[in-house]
């Protein structure tokens, strides 16, 4: 029971991070029907931006309040990563819009390789570590062999994720930007005809997706304390799995899928085999594709006649 509770806490934390990345995949897929394979690497770049900013703030500017520093780091990471993704869309995807379907996909894979290699050259191939933050834990249950504990950083991750999802939900359902986004998603041609600037809406979608990835990247860094140039790949593909599991194109689906993948991965490592945790996560992708191709909350693809 204690182990179960502890793994639940860990799984939800990891799942929050996956969910944030998965939202980026699902939003971009919803609006232009393309899997943005560079999204995982955008997340990785965001982690690096967060680390560099944090170190600059604490060592150079001497900001001692960790909460304040983290807040500034989040803002800086969101802005810079948003700008990065805007640029990527502009140079790598927009010129290929209206081309055959595989073209932007290949371009995205190229962009992913470019980002990983760029960071490897610029930051070096080794893991980069930063000082651990929020090390305090709250012990929930205690026994002789095992303590069930929630660490402060897990609470920070939950809080930031929850706040962000709330704001994001408001943006999509309550503002005219969200309205335009949903219109472009359902019928881009018609949206253009009623006066929505489709290109701009797509750009904004990429910026929002990147901002979510930036928060995920910052939280990932806070959680693990290290980041390396190839950290974009695995969390990226797992978040993609989460988006597919939840039903690609569905925003609540992405969050639920992310949490599920996080939980499956942690429980598998706790109860079965740590070495096979990635196998477990990716098996989900295969099983979903075979038995539930539209995902948990996705709309079934009805062929119009």
């Amino acid at each position: 029971m204690d182990v179960f509770l502890q793994q639940l806490i860990n799984g939800l934390t990891l799942g929050s991070i996956y969910g944030l990345i998965a939202l980026g995949y699902t939003m971009v897929f919803g609006i232009i029907g393309m899997v943005n394979f560079a999204h995982g690497d955008v997340f990785m770049v965001a982690s690096f931006i967060a680390m560099v900013t944090f170190l600059l703030l604490t060592t150079w500017l001497g900001i001692s309040s960790v909460v304040l520093a983290l807040f500034i780091v989040l803002i800086v990471a969101m802005v810079l990563t948003g700008f990065l993704n805007w640029t990527i869309e502009r140079i790598a995807y927009r010129p290929l819009r209206g081309s055959f379907r595989l073209a932007p996909l290949i371009s995205a894979i190229g962009m992913s390789i470019f980002l990983a290699n760029f960071v490897q050259v610029a930051q070096g191939p080794r893991n980069k570590a930063m000082p651990a933050l929020f090390n305090e834990v709250i012990v929930l249950r205690s026994s002789e062999t095992f303590d069930v504990a929630v660490s402060y950083k897990q609470i920070v991750i939950w809080l930031v994720t929850a706040l962000l999802l709330l704001g994001f939900w408001f943006l999509v359902t309550r503002t005219k930007l969200g309205r335009a986004q949903r219109a472009c998603e359902q019928d881009p041609k018609m949206a253009a005809l009623v006066g929505v600037d489709v290109d701009r809406t797509i750009s904004i979608t990429f910026v929002i997706a990147a901002a979510l990835a930036a928060v995920a990247g910052t939280l990932y860094l806070v959680y693990y304390g290290v980041v390396s140039f190839n950290d974009g790949f695995q969390p990226g593909v797992k978040a993609f799995t989460a988006a597919v599991l939840g039903g690609i194109g569905s925003l609540p689906g992405a969050v639920i899928g992310g949490l599920l993948i996080g939980l499956i991965e942690t429980f598998w490592s706790a109860y079965f085999s740590l070495d096979y945790k990635d196998v477990a996560a990716f098996s989900i992708l295969a099983v979903t594709m075979i038995f539930l191709p539209q995902g948990l909350l996705g709309r079934p693809d009805v062929e119009k006649v």
Binding site: T175, K176, R179, A183, D187, K189, A192, V194, G195, V196
Partner: protein, 299 residues
């Protein structure tokens, strides 16, 4: 007094060897309902697609004017100059054949509907009307940022857009269903909502492709009332493709008849009704009588 809004001149559209429209010219007047009719395959939708920028015509000129009628005097200068449009404080003159589809809707303010219903099915009825006012709202809100912090002029603009949506919901009788997904409405209501959504973009010219297709008598009558209301109250001109003759004869001020890509008649509904060529095109004649009928109607 005639006040031309849209001039279609010598429009020809060829797809490879197929001539879909051959040298068609007609004029749609300000504040009138102009109907474009003809048997299946006559080229009506092709004319629409040329006007709304979906097709680039092979030949011909499509000019739309707003504001001061005197702008028509500059038409030849504009055509020779190679620009897409001429805009002055007192109005604008647009060469639609040079513009792309979204430019036609954005700059020349031509709204259109399609033969099949193309609502945003997953969005609510109200949202469908609000998204059509997106551009005005975007401009007023300083691209969301000012709107998000509750800037007063934006709140005013948003309020106005909701009022406008409410007015249209009232007119099409869907005020009770404002928060239902558009996809759940009955077919006739979806048709009316499409017209209302097009009107929310504040068009100069509203192009409707078979708006009454698939409607029953009552729904069709409701649509007629709506279109006449748009003409009389909003002073918006309508260009209409329609198969249902009762609709055409009842509401249109001017009818253009196409057959096999050519214009065979052009006039008031009463004149069209008794036109021999139109009757022959619609009812058809036996093969051996073709020459006789052709001689009678002077083809």
């Amino acid at each position: 007094m005639t006040r031309p809004l849209l001039r279609v001149e010598h429009l020809t559209m060829r797809f490879g060897g197929l001539v879909a429209i051959n040298n068609v010219s007609f004029t749609a007047q300000h504040g009138e309902i102009t109907a474009l009719i003809g048997p299946n395959g006559a080229g009506k939708t092709t004319v629409f697609n040329c006007i709304t920028g979906f097709y680039k015509p092979t030949e011909g000129r499509l000019a739309l004017q707003s504001g001061d009628q005197a702008l028509w005097d500059d038409l030849d200068t504009l055509t020779a100059g190679g620009a897409k449009s001429l805009r002055r404080a007192d109005g604008g003159l647009f060469l639609l054949e040079r513009m792309r589809d979204f430019e036609v809707s954005r700059d020349a303010r031509v709204a259109r509907t399609f033969q099949n219903v193309r609502l945003f099915q997953g969005m609510t009825v109200l949202e469908n009307l609000l998204v059509a006012q997106h551009r005005a709202l975007m401009a007023a809100s300083g691209f969301t940022i000012l709107g998000a912090i509750g800037w007063a002029p934006y709140r005013k603009a948003e309020h106005a857009s909701i009022e406008r949506a409410r007015l249209w919901l009232d007119r099409i009788g869907l005020i009770d269903r404002a928060d239902d997904p558009a996809g759940t409405l009955p077919y006739g209501a979806q048709r009316r909502l499409e017209v209302a959504r097009a009107m929310c973009t504040e068009p100069m010219l509203l192009c409707l492709d078979e708006p009454a297709a698939g409607l029953n008598h009552r729904e069709s009558a409701a649509l007629n009332d709506l279109l006449m209301l748009i003409r009389d109250q909003d002073k918006t001109s309508i260009l209409l493709i329609e198969h249902d003759m009762s609709v055409v004869m009842e509401i249109s001020d001017h009818v253009v008849v196409l057959d096999y890509g050519e214009k065979i008649a052009d006039g008031k509904p009463a004149e069209i009704r008794s036109d021999q060529k139109v009757i022959a095109a619609y009812l058809g004649v036996e093969d051996e009588e073709v020459d006789k009928v052709a001689a009678e109607v002077g083809l």
